[in-house]
């Protein structure tokens, strides 16, 4: 069973039980192993995406140069059929995995979120589609006040 479906079922069960508390419904789904991993390879392992194939059907839009590493807008669009989830990884962050978005019920395979980046690095997108994993990267240069 995929994680989104599992968390939805938990959510529904709790709602039915009449004591809906979102945090409990979703806590089980939070990928602690991935978010606490310090290297991209460990993150990929936590997602089950170690063998992810490079794909040109993943479009990452992000600044070439970000003036403020505390707020780096990242947009990922997947053109891979049956995209279920997109993860965003800032490879040189102390904890590279920034976010995982799961889609259902008509949501477009589109992720947009602003993240913190400690330094110039590749931003890696991981797409889960039909039980397989695909990946693409884009470099973002971080200046914080110029090249000093």
């Amino acid at each position: 069973m995929n994680p989104l479906r599992r968390s939805l079922l938990q959510f529904a069960a709790l709602a039915a039980a009449g004591w809906l508390k979102t945090s409990q419904a979703v806590a089980a789904a939070w990928n602690a192993a991935g978010f606490e991993a310090k290297a991209t390879a460990e993150v990929l392992k936590s997602l089950g995406a170690s063998g992810a194939a490079e794909s040109s059907d993943i479009a990452i839009t992000a600044p070439d140069i970000a003036e403020n590493g505390a707020v780096v807008p990242i947009e990922v669009v997947s053109r891979i059929p049956n995209t279920q989830a997109i993860s965003i990884i800032a490879e040189k962050n102390p904890f590279p995995l920034a976010a995982t978005m799961q889609f259902a019920n008509g949501a477009e395979p589109y992720a947009y979120v602003r993240i913190k980046m400690g330094q110039t690095a590749h931003v890696r997108a991981i797409v889960q589609a039909g039980g397989k994993f695909f990946t693409a990267t884009r470099e973002v240069k971080i200046t914080i006040g110029g090249c000093g």
């Binding site: 968390s7 799961q102 889609f103 259902a104 019920n105 589109y110």
Partner: protein, 105 residues
């Protein structure tokens, strides 16, 4: 008490572009306050978005998401007037739910 989110849900064709602004400190646990003490980690772990009662988006975040987070979701097959509900939950179990109605662009 958490501040309300600002949700803008606009229809472009049959796709709703849902853009959300959240007031949250998203503390990484590495910042020191003015007194020199480390500010404990405090960040949103989970975001759930429903459209007409169905979950369309289920996100897990780390402390790497920016302070005062901004995120967006796009939903196909949406109509003007449809209700969108957004809920976030943070690592202190604080949470906030707000809703919006999709409007024609």
């Amino acid at each position: 008490m958490a501040e309300p989110m600002k949700i803008r849900a606009r229809l472009k064709g049959d796709i709703a572009d849902i853009r959300v602004l959240v007031a949250h400190p998203m503390e990484t646990g590495q910042r020191k306050n003015a007194g020199g003490a480390l500010v404990p980690m405090h960040f949103i772990k989970h975001v759930l978005v429903t459209h007409k009662g169905n979950v369309v988006y289920d996100a897990q975040w780390s402390q790497a998401v920016s302070r005062n987070p901004v995120f967006a979701v796009r939903v196909k097959g949406a109509k003007a007037g449809d209700k969108v509900v957004v809920t976030w939950t943070d690592n202190k179990d604080d949470k906030r739910t707000d809703e919006a109605v999709i409007v024609a662009a």
